[in-house]
């Protein structure tokens, strides 16, 4: 039985130090509380003849000092925890993007090259990996203890999470948000492999088109191309170079065209209308499934890469 959890991601090291710090603080406090309690209880038991001397007169000084003491320690812990959290919240721009779709009760993973896997995730070492996750039904939660990361996977929107694995091996993947009958079967494996092996794995499992290529087909099939590629009668914004760039909206504000924005624009186009365009696009909610959405988003993502070079 081992009582420590191996760490397989460099992004999790900071969390481990924080946990260690918390253990140190709690051991100190517990030693103080239990120590004083046992000491007093034995020393001042009612039949102990010990001289109690004068009672402590003013308690105010004590009160203020331990209130301020705890406040300072707590505030330090808050800052420490928050700094790491904020970093874990923002993936680096060059992260490898992998799409995850959760459903009762399985994980479907799709790599950018179109490789798909079920209840498993293959990632290369020393590469920042960003998971873009959504659910088809209820709330799930993608939890890899060895990476010290976890994130709820919500239906109807994208959640992202990132890590940088640095230790080859196979690790647990859990769903940690209760999601119905077979919740405890919604588990899988995260396989961390050296970049070369990962590349080999991608080729051996590379089943045909990349996500973006598949998305290109869907782009035509769902009729998006009719307006967004120009030439049609309806004027619609061009999508080339859109991904990652700021978009001015008709209400005067600006948003960054991230995965969530693109997804929302397909599902609820009237909510964030691009400035100087008519709100004519129909909603594709309940028309396009999550699997296809992922491909469309990947395709639009690839359009940005083309223009940026």
């Amino acid at each position: 039985m081992r009582l420590t959890l191996p760490l397989a991601a460099s992004t999790g090291a900071a969390t481990d130090y924080l946990l260690l710090g918390l253990v140190a603080v709690s051991l100190a406090v517990l030693a103080l509380v239990f120590g004083l309690m046992f000491f007093y209880v034995v020393r001042y038991r009612h039949n102990s003849p010990i001289d109690r001397g004068a009672m402590a007169e003013k308690s105010f000084r004590f009160e203020i000092s331990w209130t301020i003491g705890t406040l300072v320690i707590f505030f330090g812990l808050f800052i420490w925890g928050s700094i790491i959290y904020v970093r874990l919240y923002q993936p680096p721009g060059d992260a490898l993007k992998i799409y995850v779709v959760a459903k009762q009760w399985m994980w479907k993973v799709e790599h950018a090259g179109g490789q798909r896997e079920i209840n498993a995730l293959h990632v290369p070492t020393n590469t920042s990996v960003e998971l873009i996750m959504t659910s088809e039904d209820v709330i799930h939660d993608f939890f890899v203890p060895a990476f010290r990361v976890k994130r709820d996977v919500l239906p109807g929107q994208y959640e992202t999470m990132w890590f940088r694995a640095d230790r080859v091996g196979t690790y647990h993947l859990f769903c940690s948000q209760f999601c119905g009958t077979a919740h405890s079967n919604m588990i899988g494996q995260v396989v961390v492999m050296p970049p070369k092996d990962y590349a080999d794995w991608l080729t051996t499992n590379g089943a045909g088109d990349t996500l973006a290529d598949q998305g290109k087909g869907l782009f035509v099939r769902y009729g998006c191309a009719g307006c967004h590629l120009g030439g049609g009668t309806v004027r619609a914004p061009s999508l080339a170079g859109l991904y990652g760039s700021p978009v001015p909206l008709s209400d005067g504000s600006t948003v960054i065209a991230d995965d969530r924005y693109i997804r929302d624009s397909i599902m609820y186009p009237k909510q964030q209308v691009v400035a100087s365009f008519e709100p004519v696009m129909p909603s594709f909610a309940n028309v396009i499934g999550e699997d296809d959405l992922v491909r469309l988003v990947a395709y639009i993502h690839s359009l940005a890469a083309e223009t940026h070079g």
Binding site: Y89, G244, I256, D259, R260
Partner: protein, 95 residues
């Protein structure tokens, strides 16, 4: 007693006037984003009813305490609950 009746009548008239103004303003060309300001006359009317018909000022001291507590916790509920949607998209992940 007569004073009390006159007071009640005045509150009633004031409420009616605010209600009519509120109704009238709702036809003014207010931009869609600003239309929630139409809730403001309601706040005034609530104050009128609470102070007039519910006699909050002459109620027992603790009753005023309870009224303030209710409003305070309502503010907490509305305020803290809205911090999430109001800030959620701003920190959306940049790809």
């Amino acid at each position: 007693m007569r004073r009390r009746h006159r007071f009640n009548l005045l509150i009633w008239l004031a409420l009616l006037i605010v209600a009519v103004l509120e109704f009238g303003f709702s036809f003014a060309p207010i931009p869609a984003g600003a239309r929630p300001i139409l809730m403001l006359p309601a706040v005034l009317m609530v104050a009128l009813v609470a102070l007039g018909y519910m006699r909050l000022l002459t109620a027992p001291e603790i009753a005023r305490g309870f009224a303030i507590a209710g409003i305070f916790w309502l503010t907490i509920l509305l305020g803290l609950a809205m911090t999430d949607p109001l800030t959620r998209s701003v920190y959306a992940v940049i790809g």
